[in-house]
């Protein structure tokens, strides 16, 4: 009976996740030595480390993703605090819906919206000229900051949701008790609120970091050629250079490296994955 109930999920997992990954894994350990002739080797993985451009792009992607995650956390925390602790009843649900509404539109359309705002002939540069702040329209696309803005905007909801959950479960009496014992805003945040919300913060950071690291659309549209995002490299290997073996190896490297970075993050913050996923 249990097997029957789980069958759709298991089938989904097997057909769409496990089988393609097994195939990609086999693909990534293959090297073409002559037309239609292949042999097993680690050549694809060696390329990643020997060609510095590849691992440099990966490091850049990881650092940018980490910055985007941190910015998202800083921006989402006051929002989540307002929804969970300050707003009451209807106002609280209304604020939540306001956070949710942008996500009813597809990511492509939202990103194109940013392009309309930021491109040289767009709304914002035009406004700056009109206000006399700049003499000529400034190109605001294709900067790292633009990429970060887009990534933070796309990720905000995925940080707000777990944060609201973990902040709502914080008993207000604990905050009052901390004040009563002489705490101030900063020490209450540091000693009471953050330790309590840690699983929610960790869960939000994991989700946002993974989504950002694996994002293709936003860095490419907002960053253009200078985005230098690792997913773009994978796309190029598969689609542009038709080098499936190399693309598969990059895909696996992205999976393994991002997983190990999350693992290191969990260890450093003293959190356990199971606990984080259960509490948020």
């Amino acid at each position: 009976m249990l097997g029957l109930l789980l069958a759709p999920a298991l089938l989904w997992l097997l057909a769409l996740i496990i089988l393609p990954h097994v195939d990609l894994a086999l693909l990534s350990f293959r090297e073409r030595i002559a037309p239609r002739e292949f042999q097993t080797s680690f050549a694809q993985y060696r390329t990643f480390f020997s060609e510095s451009i590849y691992w440099q792009i990966f490091v850049r992607t990881a650092v940018m993703s980490a910055i985007a995650t941190l910015l998202t956390l800083l921006l989402a925390f006051p929002v989540a605090w307002t929804i969970a602790k300050l707003a009451r009843g209807r106002a609280s649900s209304l604020l939540f819906v306001v956070c949710l509404i942008p996500f009813w539109v597809s990511e492509t359309v939202r990103t194109l919206g940013w392009m309309i705002l930021l491109r040289e002939s767009g709304v914002l540069p035009g406004l700056l000229v009109k206000l006399g702040i700049t003499a000529v329209p400034v190109e605001m696309l294709y900067h790292d900051a633009t990429i970060l803005v887009g990534l933070v905007y796309t990720s905000l909801l995925f940080m707000v949701v777990p944060l609201v959950g973990s902040l709502e479960s914080l008993d207000n009496a604990l905050i009052e008790a901390a004040y009563n014992l002489g705490g101030n805003g900063w020490s209450v945040l540091r000693k009471i609120v953050i330790p309590h919300a840690a699983p929610g913060i960790t869960a939000g950071c994991i989700v946002v970091f993974m989504l950002t690291l694996g994002n293709y659309l936003t860095p490419n549209l907002l960053g253009g050629k200078s985005s230098q995002w690792f997913t773009e490299q994978i796309y190029n290997q598969f689609i542009v250079r038709f080098n499936w073996e190399q693309g598969a190896a990059f895909g696996f490297l992205l999976l393994v490296l991002s997983t190990s970075m999350v693992w290191v993050g969990l260890r450093l913050s003293g959190q356990r994955f199971g606990e984080v996923m259960r509490r948020s």
Partner: protein, 369 residues
């Protein structure tokens, strides 16, 4: 006379639809155990939160140790609070909980540890410093909450019904422990509760609160033996309430009759005039039982009743009977001698009480609660 540790001067707090605390003034002497007793919704929690500084009074002033607390934030008041659900920090150990306030004051780590350990020892929890909060029993948590506050040596310790969440047995035990802790530390305790037994057992003085005001402020004995208002008579301790009208008032005594015709006498509290609607209160232990009318104390008006039910509760056992003529319910405590252990439901029995020990009040328009 030294300055009182706590003084309220005409404190008022209004919420949208009602006045939670209405022109309240009182003082609490240094080192005393003061309780605020009242039913839920009487404004006692609002009052406590104003003393702690979580809400500001709309009018009036609160002085702690002689200093006005107007505009002083809760973290700057010489007041600590034991919360209803204790509000221990689950993310910290017991020792860190106790040291939390000291750390906020910038006390050095070694000193913090020494102080919190000696405080834990004083409340009988030596060696528990490294334990997690959820490893402790209910009573132990209670002591941690008190230790966490007292380690800061506050002028005033506020307690917000801290025994409410405990089971009966532990509650009885903690009552005694609280009283002993208060005596040992000598800190002024302000305790709010809806449980009259807690207030009577623990306190030096009790303010009985109703609808935002104190109905009466006095020692537990005064509240019990000379209630000033019908509300206090009905709320503090068990009482038989008899509603009727005054037939005759003379020399501080009232003869009253119920609508069903039961006639009795009681001591008048406040002004009672003939034909006033009145209510009289008789304590269950103020009445005597007898199988023969001759065995009743001489000089007291005697009545007859049928036993309706027996309420066995060890030392607090009582009998519920109905007065024979009017069928009015009346509760009488059973004597500890066991003389009436063989009492049966339906039996007719004689009873009487000393009118001097019964209190009679005129019912005024708003005092019917």
């Amino acid at each position: 006379m030294s300055t009182p540790d706590l003084e309220a001067r005409a404190v008022v707090k209004r919420f949208a639809s009602h006045t939670a605390v209405n022109q309240l003034s009182f003082t609490v002497e240094r080192g005393s155990f003061f309780s605020i007793l009242g039913p839920s919704g009487c404004g006692k929690t609002t009052l406590l939160r104003m003393i702690a500084g979580f809400i500001a009074p709309d009018d009036g002033d609160i002085l702690i140790g002689g200093r006005s607390m107007a505009g002083i934030a809760p973290n700057r008041r010489p007041v600590n609070m034991v919360f209803q659900q204790l509000a221990l920090f689950p993310m910290m150990t017991v020792g860190e909980n106790v040291a939390f306030g000291l750390a906020r004051r910038g006390v050095a780590r070694a000193e913090r540890q020494r102080k919190s350990e000696s405080m834990l020892e004083r409340v009988g929890l030596s060696g528990a410093a490294h334990k997690k909060v959820d490893e402790l029993s209910g009573g132990q948590r209670q002591r941690v909450a008190i230790a966490r506050s007292l380690v800061l040596e506050p002028t005033l310790l506020l307690l917000d019904e801290p025994l409410g969440a405990l089971d009966l047995k532990l509650r009885e035990h903690m009552k005694i422990e609280l009283k002993q802790l208060q005596a040992a530390f000598g800190t002024t305790f302000v305790y709010i509760t809806h449980d009259q037994s807690e207030a009577l057992v623990l306190s030096d003085h009790v303010g009985v609160m109703n609808k935002g005001r104190f109905e009466q402020l006095g020692t537990p004995q005064e509240l019990y033996y000379s209630p000033a208002t019908p509300f206090v008579a009905g709320f503090v301790g068990a009482n038989n309430k008899i509603v009727g009208h005054a037939v005759r008032a003379h020399a501080g005594m009232v003869d009253l009759a119920t609508d069903s015709g039961w006639q009795l006498s009681a001591r008048a509290i406040g002004s009672v005039a003939a034909n006033d609607p009145v209510e009289a209160f008789v304590r269950p232990e103020a009445a005597s039982l007898a199988r023969q009318p001759g065995e009743l104390p001489p000089g007291q008006p005697a009545y007859r009743g049928e036993v309706e039910s027996l309420l066995f509760d060890g030392a607090n056992s009582a009998v519920l009977l109905r007065e024979s003529a009017t069928k009015l319910e009346f509760r009488i405590a059973l004597p500890q001698t066991g003389r009436f252990a063989d009492l049966r439901v339906g039996e007719t029995i004689h009873f009487s009480f000393d009118p001097e020990r019964a209190a009679c009040f005129t019912i005024r328009g708003d005092a019917s609660a």
